[in-house]
């Protein structure tokens, strides 16, 4: 009796899961709208599984909801724009492109779940995503095992592409960004001493801290103190007071924009007048709303600047604005680049199998991305310059480019 009961329970659990498999959940991104009525109909019916013979499916995983939704949504916008343009330009090998996107709520386990779904249910040709390195790290082994190439638009942790030879990225790595800011601070700003305020909840922040620390010291500067906070804190005065007493000439805060504004205000309140420096996590339209005038005169490194005069960048900005009514941020630019690198590789690949596309991506050289020219190196990382932006009167201004 007892045995039977357990068996029933086990079967019930299995049955539920199977039922779930039969009704899979999809989120179609309507990138083919207006270009292909047939694919549009498929998308609308919520059907899943491999695409028909005339479409190529591209998988995307991003955080579309939750606290980090802005990153995911920007990236998706960039990808959608790229795919629309590529479809208008005739698609790949006579086929239309379609993106299937799943939300991972910024959780590794959900990212792994989503990528498994993309590979085994949807049988996508290429995977794009994620923004956060920890989520990309959850996805990468699955993609690697299934021999499906994966390009992350903006995961900067070096470990991501080390997972295997199917994992690529179109952004620079933490090490370079930290180096770029250290170099800029030392060479251009002529700063001799600096303090660091890191976000201990974010691997990204810790990575930048490490590199900035070593590089700045190598250049002959001195790191006077390192303090930490946790993403979501609202009172940074204790750390800032400690920093103030160390009297640095510059304060490097490699965190996310959500905290930067508050930190800047409290720093000014305590009478800290040093230059504030940051990384690409600062990039957001709300940065200056939160920070106000406290941020004036700060610098941060970024992937691209909307002020870049190159015609293809300006064209991208114009088109993006037409569709989404806003100036693209760097995440949108990177999403756009990632999608275009993938499409370019598929065009060059001899067929659309994973290994062929992988080889084609690996051979990408001097690709004109909107966020810098992209060459994939032997470690499957993009080699490209970083830009330095300055905050002035609630706006960001392009200052200089730092090359590797």
């Amino acid at each position: 009796m007892r045995v039977l009961r357990f068996a029933v329970v086990a079967l019930m659990a299995l049955g539920c899961a199977t039922a779930c498999e039969e009704r899979p959940k999809t989120q179609e991104s309507e990138t083919t709208q207006g270009t292909g009525a047939a694919t549009g109909a498929i998308a609308a019916s919520g059907e899943t599984g491999p695409a028909d013979a005339n479409t190529i499916l591209i998988g995307e995983v991003g955080s579309l909801t939750g606290p980090e939704a802005t990153f995911g949504v920007s990236t998706r916008n960039g990808i959608d724009l790229a795919i629309q343009q590529e479809n208008a330009a005739g698609g790949v090998k006579g086929k239309k492109l379609k993106v299937r996107v799943y939300d991972d709520q910024s959780k590794p386990e959900e990212a792994a779940n989503a990528v498994t779904r993309l590979i085994s249910q949807d049988r996508v040709a290429v995977i794009l995503g994620e923004v956060a390195s920890s989520n990309s790290l959850a996805m990468a082994p699955k993609a690697q095992a299934a021999q499906t190439p994966m390009i992350t638009p903006s995961s900067t942790n070096e470990k991501v592409t080390q997972v295997g030879d199917y994992i690529f990225r179109v952004c620079f790595i933490d090490a370079f960004q930290g180096y770029a800011m250290a170099k800029f601070a030392h060479d251009t700003l002529k700063v001799k001493t600096a303090a660091i305020l890191k976000d201990q909840k974010s691997d990204y922040s810790l990575g930048l801290t490490k590199v900035f620390n070593t590089k700045f010291t190598e250049f002959g500067g001195k790191i006077v103190t390192i303090e930490a906070y946790s993403k979501g804190d609202t009172d940074f005065r204790a750390q800032l007071t400690a920093i103030k007493s160390a009297k640095p000439e510059a304060l490097y805060i490699p965190g996310y924009y959500t905290d930067i504004g508050v930190i800047a205000r409290q720093a000014r309140e305590l009478g800290i007048k040093t230059i504030l420096l940051g990384g690409d996590g600062w990039e957001s339209p709300t940065l200056t709303e939160l920070g106000g005038s406290a941020l004036d005169g700060s610098y941060y490194t970024n992937h691209y600047s909307p002020e870049d005069p190159s015609p293809h960048v300006q064209q991208f900005i114009a088109e993006y604005r037409k569709v989404y009514g806003a100036v693209p941020d760097s995440l949108a630019a990177l999403g756009y680049d990632a999608a275009r690198v993938a499409v370019d590789a598929m065009r060059r690949a001899k067929d659309l199998t994973g290994p062929s596309i992988r080889d084609a991506i690996a051979q990408t050289k001097a690709f004109p991305g909107v966020a810098g020219t992209i060459s994939i190196d032997e470690n499957r990382n993009a080699v490209k310059p970083a830009v330095v932006l300055k905050v002035e009167d609630g706006k960001t201004k392009f200052v200089t480019t730092v090359s590797p």
């Binding site: 045995v3 357990f6 779904r117 790290l137 976000d199 691997d203």
Partner: protein
């Protein structure tokens, strides 16, 4: 109890009665493993469900059977995940020569990693259980929460555990067989403890601590032991989790995760093992199901489907309030499913709980 039910098993020799369910489960699990070999997504979902069932059933030992209120279960899960994950990372390339194949050796190492993770979590369970010697009810709840947070902060500040990034590249050795086997073991353990002298003492503590103490039940020791066994299985669940997700970081084991488990056992009925199982399965699959329903209904408009997970948390909150107001005992109260099921399902089982 068992002895009362004995006549039904009269054909089974005594020594076989203990391991029989486990032996019977093996071919079923092997069948499940074979059937799902080509469906990694199904395996993934089933694994998540399985881990949640283990967590709910194990938390129910403390919260439901013993009547203590722990809201830091994710902390134990984290300990198990980190210890098992770290062990597997360090011994990735170790091959046990006496095993026949690399795969078999890996599986044995995996089992060992799980046991290690569970054991260390159990030690933490012991440490967290100690305050329950002096604290009751809501105070204990806050302390368990605090312990969970402290474990998170420690992990976050330790290089060995990868700090904020966590551990990545954990070998993916988990399988549906392994997950379901542990689910099965957890449920079996919970049920068998419940129907032993041990379990009766726990229930007695839940019902009336002072009376239990006066009847010779060493309440403090039993409470600590309930924490220990509960933490052990939470640790195993964490270990399983680490081996199918492949990356763990402190963000996966927050207060929110603890609360999800609490919602499960409260919805299922504190003290009801089957209730916990049903609620864990249902609440894990619900967002997935909602997502597909919204997709079907919404047609091209995907916003609702995308918002499922965002809406889930406030709905959990309201569910808790509504449950407490309308049915504070949860789905099954302290009963098991066969106690409340219609008569045709259970012809006996009075006094069996």
């Amino acid at each position: 109890m068992e002895s009362v039910a004995a006549p039904r098993f009269s054909g089974v020799p005594g020594w076989l009665r203990g391991p029989l369910p486990i032996l019977l489960s093996l071919p079923i699990l092997a069948l499940a493993q074979w059937a799902t070999a080509q469906a990694p997504f199904l395996v993934y979902i089933a694994s998540i469900v399985g881990v949640n069932v283990i967590l709910a059933v194990s938390l129910n030992i403390v919260n439901g059977m013993t009547g203590q209120f722990s809201i830091g279960h994710a902390g134990f899960m984290a300990v198990g995940a980190y210890i098992a994950g770290k062990f597997s990372l360090e011994t990735k390339d170790v091959y046990l020569p006496f095993m026949q194949s690399v795969a078999a050796s890996d599986q044995l190492m995996f089992v060992f990693a799980l046991l290690l993770g569970g054991a260390v979590a159990a030690v933490f369970g012991f440490l967290v259980g100690l305050p329950s010697l002096r604290l009751k009810g809501d105070y204990l709840a806050i302390v368990t929460l605090g312990f969970g947070e402290i474990i998170r902060v420690i992990v976050q500040n330790t290089e060995m555990f990868g700090r904020a990034l966590g551990l990545s590249g954990i070998p993916q050795r988990s399988s549906i067989f392994m997950v379901m086997f542990w689910v099965f073991l957890t449920i079996l353990a919970a049920r068998r403890i419940a129907s032993s002298a041990h379990g009766r003492s726990l229930l007695a503590i839940r019902e009336d601590e002072i009376a239990a103490e006066a009847m010779g039940v060493n309440t403090t020791a039993y409470k600590v032991r309930a924490f220990v066994i509960s933490a052990f299985f939470a640790g195993v669940a964490g270990g399983l989790f680490a081996h199918f997700v492949g990356i763990i970081n402190p963000g996966s084991f927050t207060f929110v995760k603890s609360m999800e488990i609490v919602v499960m056992i409260v919805a299922g009925g504190l003290g009801s093992t089957t209730g916990s199982i049903v609620a864990a399965v249902f609440l894990t699959l619900l967002p997935e199901a909602l997502r597909s329903i919204f997709t079907q209904l919404g047609g091209g408009d995907q916003t609702l489907a995308q918002r499922v997970d965002q809406i889930r948390m406030p709905i959990y909150g309201m569910l808790l309030v509504a449950l407490m107001l309308l049915r504070p005992q949860g789905l099954f109260g302290t009963k098991e499913i066969w106690d409340v099921a219609p008569k045709w399902l259970s012809r006996r089982r009075k006094g069996m709980r």
